[in-house]
Symmetry: C2
Subunit: 207 residues, 2 copies
């Protein structure tokens, strides 16, 4: 693993999932000291994150962790909805809905539900959604979708999933999606997806 990868991972998993850094400027030297490499690989990691839209590089100032506005959050969720609904429609039409895998992911998620393990909970959440997206077999769709989700996580999704109440709600909503898919009921699936995304959006907006 190169120093660049180390810096990239550190930033993406440790820094960008922390709601506290919203609106802060990170200097390259600071990050370099934390990771234990020189500025060069840190800089490269930042460039990549900037290309993905996760940070904003301000000349002579540093890497700015722009707080996601509510408008951007809405746009993000709207886009995710477009992609997920398409994936559901295609998977149902092609008969490639990965019902078994989705149920498995859902059960795994239910097992480790606890406020302390919010990050793991979110990882499995991502897996659940990704299964449907991946079932389309469209690698570019997966890539695009993942990028969107990474952004939403950066917007402070972790904090949101830290309460037992919300975790339970997520599990219920996922259950509804997978049930509708298993029944081959497209309209119900689309409604369940919209409901799930809408609920998350509203919660994230009011937090």
């Amino acid at each position: 693993m190169t120093g660049r990868d180390k810096a990239y991972e550190y930033l993406k998993t440790t820094v960008l999932t922390d709601p506290g850094v919203q609106g802060e400027f990170l200097s390259e030297q600071e990050i370099a000291d934390s990771v234990g490499v020189s500025r060069t690989p840190v800089r490269e990691a930042l460039l990549m994150l900037a290309a993905e839209g996760l940070v904003q590089l301000v000349p002579k100032r540093g890497a700015y962790i722009a707080p996601l506005t509510s408008k951007e959050l809405r746009e993000l969720v709207e886009l995710r909805g477009v992609l997920e609904r398409f994936a559901a429609e295609k998977a149902l039409a092609d008969g490639t809905v990965p019902v078994a895998e989705m149920r498995a992911a859902l059960e795994a998620q239910a097992r480790l539900a606890s406020p302390e393990r919010a990050k793991d909970f979110i990882d499995l959440d991502a897996q659940f959604h990704s299964l449907l997206i991946a079932s389309t077999g469209n690698a570019m769709l997966i890539r695009t979708y993942t990028g969107l989700r990474d952004r939403q996580i950066r917007a402070g999704l972790v904090a949101l999933f830290s309460t037992p109440r919300r975790q339970a709600a997520v599990l219920r909503e996922h259950q509804a999606i997978v049930d509708a898919l298993a029944a081959g009921d497209l309209p119900a699936t689309l409604a369940a997806i919209d409901d799930h995304l809408g609920t998350t959006l509203n919660l994230q907006l009011t937090n």
Copy 2:
């Protein structure tokens, strides 16, 4: 303009639009010499392009300009279709279809139609499509869509648009889209979009 921007632009507009570099390895030093800067900013530009999926960085080999497989091209067009159809649907529902602007872009495109100015023709083509996407007001959608289109251009779209026959066909297909939009006819719009993308895909696949 920084050296990084110079390198980025050079690569994106000059190198990546050239079908001849498909499958080639570019060394950082070569590019640096061409642009007239050191390796550092070139490297940074490459990292950004890699994050966007436009080049592939192979350790100790160089930046690989991966030829787009027909599978990837199909995926790309499928995704573009999803986004464009959504944009059309939303714009029609909200009554925000920019008919006048689209007609203007179409006319401008018709005026400069000539094989020699394929790049300009493509720029206006991009503008036409972007107008519809932008009318949704979703900046993240615009960003995502633009990224997809950049990739398709890299796949050799320029060569395709160099014949008068194809240019005429594009204009016809665009006309069909804008007419359907102006009529407020959603099914016809969706069909016109699918037809346009499908035609382009088929041509690009057989080239």
